[in-house]
């Protein structure tokens, strides 16, 4: 029996597909439509379409980066360039995290409680996010796998029994301004691309079934479908809706018997936002560990600083409004689109350097510790120790070979 040992930050492509579904969907579907509707009126569908296309293109870059083990190769062969890019990426991730976190927290405060002090939500909301991020991407992926069943079941219930008096003519006209004006207004939405960037640091264990290839069109298709349904129901009043994922289930055939079915949207929303924010925070921790070597210290200081910042600003809505300001938005546009390209370039250069140096690629099933530059080479006794049942590495069946004695 050939047992496969997972390496650090290695997840199955099925788990990656689940994470893609949660990450890509959560903010584009819940908070962005209202923002677009308030900012530029009825062009929500076009804005979402453009952002989804950009995200898909970015994901192709990210996927290629992961498949060539870009992070590991760059660490070995171009550490300085990688450090510079990761510092910039950390700034982008920090801004994104603060804005997304504020967005989620304000929704919780306004919709789940009649009157609660914001600091309570700020302090408590970080707990599950920090815990998951600290545990690592493997734990996040497994948690997402467990909750995926619940999320899909609830979404299925929501959409199967949707009873919303939809008028698809409300989608027209598709353009309510000229292409030039539209392009200029798109500057305000730089924050909302690059949601899948935190996965630059993962390793993927492939399965013959193309879960990831299936997840991407399904996810983005689901986003567009939801936008279409929302516009069909609300038309020009979409700005009224703070969170589409939560409001859609209230248009349900069973609402008269089961009550307001907000919880059927709230539960998936909450799960997805926690999973995604923890992925984002985990990405920050990975960068921090690479730059500063001490993960725990960095994690504590980083999260503490974010919480202190949020507690000291006059209101979180003020923080969220910053996302659409010109300067911040353009910074996000540049960061979210250029940095992955630059990282991929560095990875390709590293790969070529690697090939030139004729370093053997990693053997299949050999556990190799992720060494930051400067650490000692792993000895065979360390490998044996890592392989022992006392370790945190997992022994799982070969995905394409379920059973069969050797």
């Amino acid at each position: 029996m050939k047992n496969n040992i997972l390496q650090k930050n290695e997840i199955y492509n099925r788990q990656f597909a689940v994470l893609i579904f949660f990450s890509a969907l959560i903010f584009k579907l819940s908070r962005l439509p209202r923002l677009v509707s308030v900012t530029i009126g009825n062009m929500v569908l076009m804005v979402e379409l453009v952002l989804c296309i950009i995200d898909i293109l970015l994901f192709i870059l990210i996927y290629y980066y992961i498949s060539i083990n870009g992070f590991e190769l760059s660490q070995k062969n171009c550490p300085i360039a990688l450090k510079i890019l990761l510092v910039l990426l950390l700034i982008i991730f920090t801004g994104k995290f603060i804005l997304y976190y504020s967005s989620g927290a304000t929704f919780i405060i306004s919709s789940l409680f009649r009157s609660i002090a914001p600091y309570i939500i700020i302090v408590t909301f970080i707990l599950p996010i920090f815990y998951l991020a600290y545990k690592g991407i493997v734990s996040i992926a497994r948690t997402a796998e467990i909750f995926f069943i619940l999320v899909i079941a609830l979404l299925f219930f929501d959409y199967t029994f949707l009873h919303g008096e939809m008028d698809f003519d409300r989608l027209k006209p598709l353009f309510t301004m000229s292409v030039g004006d539209f392009t200029v207004n798109m500057n305000s939405f730089g924050l909302w691309i690059g949601d899948l960037l935190p996965f630059l640091f993962i390793k993927m264990k492939k399965h013959k079934f193309p879960y990831v290839a299936l997840a991407v069109p399904v996810t983005y298709g689901f986003i567009i479908l939801n936008i279409i349904i929302s516009i069909a129901i609300f038309g020009g009043a979409l700005f009224l809706i703070e969170n589409i994922l939560v409001i859609i289930p209230t248009f349900n055939e069973f609402a008269s018997t089961l009550g307001k079915l907000e919880w059927a949207g709230l539960i998936p929303w909450f799960i997805m936002i926690v999973i995604y924010l923890s992925c984002l925070l985990w990405g920050c921790f990975e960068i921090g560990e690479f730059l500063f070597r001490k993960r725990t210290v960095f994690a504590g200081i980083y999260v503490g600083a974010i919480i202190i910042f949020l507690l000291s600003v006059k209101s979180m809505q003020y923080v969220i409004n910053m996302a659409t300001t010109q300067f911040v938005s353009i910074a996000f546009w540049c960061g979210n689109s250029i940095l992955p390209l630059a990282l991929l370039l560095v990875a390709i250069i590293s790969k070529r350097k690697n090939e030139k140096q004729k370093i053997m690629p990693e053997k299949e099933n050999a556990p190799i510790l992720l060494n930051a530059p400067g650490k000692h080479e792993v000895t065979s006794s360390e490998i044996q120790e890592k392989n022992s049942v006392n370790s945190t590495t997992i022994v799982l069946p070969a995905p394409s070979n379920h059973g069969g004695e050797k």
């Binding site: 008096e165 006209p173 353009f175 309510t176 609300f234 038309g235 009224l240 209230t250």
Partner: protein, 383 residues
Amino acid sequence: MNKILRAKWLVVFLALCVMIFFGRSVSINVLTDNAVVLGLGIDYTEEGYDVSAQSIVPQASSSGNASSKKYVIFSAVDKSLSGALSQIGEKMGMIISLTHCNIIIVSKDALEIGLNEEIQNLVNGWFLTLHALIVGTEEKPIDILSAETPVSVSSAEYLQTLLLESISFSNLTRYKVKDYIVDNYTQSAVSAIAFLERAELPENSVSSPTGETISTKQYEYNLTKNIIVGDNVVPFTVEKDIAQCINFLKIKENGGMLTIDFPEGEVAQLEIISTKGKLKFSEGVVEASIKMNLVLREFVEEDEAISLFLISEEKLKEIILKTEATLTQSLKNTFQISQETNVDFLLLAEGMYRKFGYTWEKPANFLQNLEFKTSVQVTFKRG
């Protein structure tokens, strides 16, 4: 002390700290401190908004039987809706909760000044549900709310029953808060709301389970008409057939009955199974089409009902043609009223905008210069 034991004490200590912290910082909201508002009435006077709220006050019952409950109506006047609601809450000594408020009765005066932003505030700040129904009336909303009805002690509950639980067998206008807000953000910005007329029931028409007649006045509600409201529009009512045409064109789910009168005194009673109304827009022309699936329920000839199986095929064709003609005429009448009042309650301007895009501009005398074509197709079967 070993690690595990220390961890346990630490957990107990942390739990205590957390409980003290949250105990002091989070205020516990007891359910019985909330007044569950079933129906809201909004009127507008010189002093401001006159808001009345019908709430339910459950009586304590160990078995939890909710049949022992009483309804109270409180009202207040303030410059803003939120102010008036707060005053009502103070009077009741409870927190007003609009989460289960499914009926909003609005007076003509309040509709005239427009309630779009106010209703949005109720949705955002007071958790008013988007599915709450709006009903217009010429009377005072508080009188409607406090009226006794034979079906239910609560007027709001009776209205809910009429409008929400009879979808399949009545063709009343079910205009929701969501529709009101959405229609206000169209090019036309006009709404066609259900119009409530109250009629007193004759004496002795309602008796109690013990056989005694109830002496207090009981009312029934008529919601067949619509009231047209909008920006810079003086609200006016339209009759049942116009209201029905508006519903056929705007709403997919239509039910109820159609009565077709013949010149010879014959009457055909048709039940609406399904309707499909469509407005097709082209340059300067609007084509309104209705496809309807009906079932013939009753045919009366010379004051006598005829067995449906004895009606000849020619008679059926005649009924179909007459139905189509009646509906076509109703459509034309609907557009004519829209033209005469210069109020675009069919949302034709919005339709043009959707068809021609953002470059389209609403011309002056838009309705007067618009050609309105109609097409009605009816299919039906015997009962």
